[in-house]
């Protein structure tokens, strides 16, 4: 199991500073763990490309097509003429299409979220319970003791309240 350096901060700004410094020192992508989403984190760690929007879009598209196909297909499979309306009646089927568009869009978004955020966590991941309350943590994977020492120094100089060595995956 890999060793990670983890610094605890009491303010998001100093955590961001530490993360930026670590990144600048050649550590690959430090992880910032926080109780609330931090504003301006994109500028420090780089903009994250999210695949969720594609999931939502294609899910909704699939849902729309599937919705109309479901309504029209089942109407054709066993024909029951009703009320002098055509078998494939557009206005009511559009409503089915609409609902299934949204349903599939929602389900695809969930799938996108699950895949994009790497949840659920099946391996032991670096974590300290304080970050769920009011602390901000910056953690980075360190392959050897020397890098651990360097990370330690950087975190220290950024104003970490506490620095720990944690076993686990990033």
């Amino acid at each position: 199991m890999a060793t990670n350096a983890l610094g605890l901060f009491n303010a998001p700004s100093s955590a961001l500073e530490a993360a930026g410094a670590l990144k600048g020192a050649g550590f690959d992508s430090p992880t910032v763990i926080s109780p609330i989403p931090i504003h301006g984190i994109d500028e420090v760690l780089g903009k994250k490309k999210s695949i969720i929007k594609r999931f939502t879009f294609f899910g909704a598209l699939f849902g729309g097509i599937a919705g109309f196909a479901l309504a029209a297909g089942t109407a054709v499979m066993y024909i029951h003429a009703t009320g002098g309306r055509p078998i494939i009646a557009i206005p009511p089927f559009l409503i089915i299409t609409y609902e299934l568009t949204i349903l599939c869009g929602i389900l695809a978004t969930v799938l996108g979220f699950i895949l994009g955020s790497r949840l659920p966590a099946f391996k032991n991941r670096v974590y300290v319970p304080e970050v769920a309350v009011d602390k901000f943590a910056v953690t980075v994977l360190c392959e050897d003791p020397e890098r651990l020492k360097r990370a330690h120094d950087i975190l220290q100089s950024s104003g970490a309240e506490e620095i720990r060595e944690v076993e686990g995956e990033q």
Binding site: A75, Y78, H80, A81, G83, G84, R85, I87
Partner: protein, 254 residues
């Protein structure tokens, strides 16, 4: 290319209102209000033919009557000059029936013979068809009805006995139509002859106010009757295209 052509032709077929175009029958009934005496024999005949339960006094008082055909009575004028009008009301077998579109499980639909079909064993009992029907001719089984012995002996074996939670209504005596079609097939005929089918109410009507037949057949009795100048549809403004045609009462003095 042919695949696209097939697809297009199928699409056009399915976009046609009602889908069935070339059918043999369009069952129609005309009721001559001038002849109707309001005797109620049709109500009784229907009750006997179609296994319609007798709900009893108590349920009747709660407004849960059961009769697929009813005689509506309308008074006109004040006491000394009071006049009573009758109009027998039954399922109009509308070609554009509001009840059909609303059923979520297709328990009611339009069949190729122009009948508004009600499939009892498919019904889940949302009762929406009864709400959508402007003629109020759909009746609901609020509970399981019983036929105490020996009344159970008079149940018609050709008609389903309905369970609780099921909507029911006039079928134009579908069991008789099926029987007549059967007989026609045995004789090698394509169509039922005019007058071969008579629903129980038509058969019973003492003043012969009702005529039943196929309006696709221009020689039929009903075709002549429905082209009478007195002919009209009840609630024509709702645009349901009913298959029951009424002939207006002739007013003698104003």
């Amino acid at each position: 290319m042919s695949f696209i052509d097939t697809l297009r032709s199928r699409w056009q077929e399915y976009r046609r209102p009602g889908y069935y175009e070339n059918f043999d029958y369009a069952w129609t009934m005309t009721i001559d209000l001038d002849s109707c005496t309001g005797c109620g024999a049709c109500v009784t005949a229907c009750q006997a033919e179609n296994n319609i339960p007798l709900v009893g006094e108590e349920e009747l008082a709660r407004g849960r009557e059961m009769h697929w055909i009813r005689i509506e009575r309308y008074w006109e004028g004040e006491f000394p000059n009071a006049k009573l009008n009758f109009i027998p009301m039954l399922c109009q077998h509308c070609d554009a029936a509001p009840c059909e579109t609303v059923c979520p499980v297709s328990a009611t639909y339009h069949n190729q013979d122009g009948l508004n079909a009600q499939v009892y064993n498919r019904c889940v009992g949302t009762r929406s068809c009864a709400v959508y029907c402007p003629y109020e001719v759909r009746y609901f089984n609020y509970y399981n009805h019983e036929w105490p012995s020996p009344l159970d002996q008079q149940l018609n074996p050709d008609v389903t006995v309905r369970e609780k939670g099921v909507m029911e209504k006039c079928t134009f005596c579908i069991q008789r139509i099926r029987q007549a079609k059967d007989a026609a097939k045995d004789d090698g005929r394509r169509r039922v002859l005019d007058g071969e089918v008579q629903p129980a109410c038509v058969q019973t009507c003492a003043s012969q106010a009702m005529v039943f037949g196929n309006r696709n057949d221009s020689q039929s009795e009903v075709f002549k009757s429905m082209n009478d100048p007195r002919a009209y549809h009840v609630l024509e403004e709702v645009n349901t295209a009913p298959s029951v045609v009424y002939l207006k009462k002739v007013e003698v003095n104003g």
